[in-house]
Symmetry: C2
Subunit: 200 residues, 2 copies
Amino acid sequence: MPAPIDFYFDFSSPYGYLGSELIEALAAKHGRAVAWHPVLLGVIFRETGSAPLTEVPLKGAYSKRDFERSARFHGVAFRMPGRFPIPAQTPSRIVLALRDRDPALAAAVARALYRAYFVDGRDISQPEVAAAAAEGAGADAAAARAAVDDPAIKEALRHEVAQAIAAGVFGSPFIVVDGEPFWGVDRFPQIDRWLATGGF
Amino acid sequence: MPAPIDFYFDFSSPYGYLGSELIEALAAKHGRAVAWHPVLLGVIFRETGSAPLTEVPLKGAYSKRDFERSARFHGVAFRMPGRFPIPAQTPSRIVLALRDRDPALAAAVARALYRAYFVDGRDISQPEVAAAAAEGAGADAAAARAAVDDPAIKEALRHEVAQAIAAGVFGSPFIVVDGEPFWGVDRFPQIDRWLATGGF
């Protein structure tokens, strides 16, 4: 069994959301599993001196247009949330709390949380909102709610982000295939060929 | 005859170079011409507060890897130049001096200048080097050399950059199709569909 693909994403990242809708099919096409890694771009941007795309002059207006156009291009439902960006700790902790025990459920919950935010416009930074979305994907709502305030899970998220930075992650989505880094949902065609050919 | 595609590029931009190798075939596939617009990202970045990708922590190392991988992905020859980035005024002026009179020659010269830099590693910010590369694509070397110091051409370049900024251009390559803006060579699949369908 070949190693899983590492999929790093921030819950407030529109391109990360688009990637979340596409990565499992892409991996499965090549017989690969996906390891889902929630990260916090706010922490990472402090290291790289970056700013959210939507806050950069000129790029901001273009980005919002490109989010919606890219979603249509990929056939993915998308609606820019009223509150944006949001802190991603709450949904990230809910996913991390599930991951070791049940990675498939964690992935399903991650996709459901992303859809709650980027399709239904629900503010998943709110613990009750996020727990309800997780429940809709099959998680236990009370356990999901409890994970948000669990010191061990908080520490696990800090560790996850530190590991991502050490692995060179600086954006969302960020995918690592057999050591090869790819940034952005627009690199999925390259990932497809990389998986098919073993590298080019 | 439908309007040409606007192709904005900076001569020091690796992705702009990749775009220059692909844009004419993409446009021709849909019966479109290409209007080539040399711009100066240094000037544009002062407006947007951006920095060259290669100078950003973490992104810099990734970018260099991605330039080379993206070139291989698209089947385009590429070698990272020893001197990078370079000021783009010299080759930009040579292209602008030709464009009104002979747009096809200007486009051929633009592609030749890009190849001289990103394949052969020649420093096209040097007027004699750039004039020789232009001559190789069919331009008059003496006229190309003279354009570099021509006050009217200098003014034409300032005007070209100001117009690009007014059109919302903030990166390279930047393509406008019937008013729709696309940033990056990785948006070429979207441009392809946009041209085929009239928008999506």
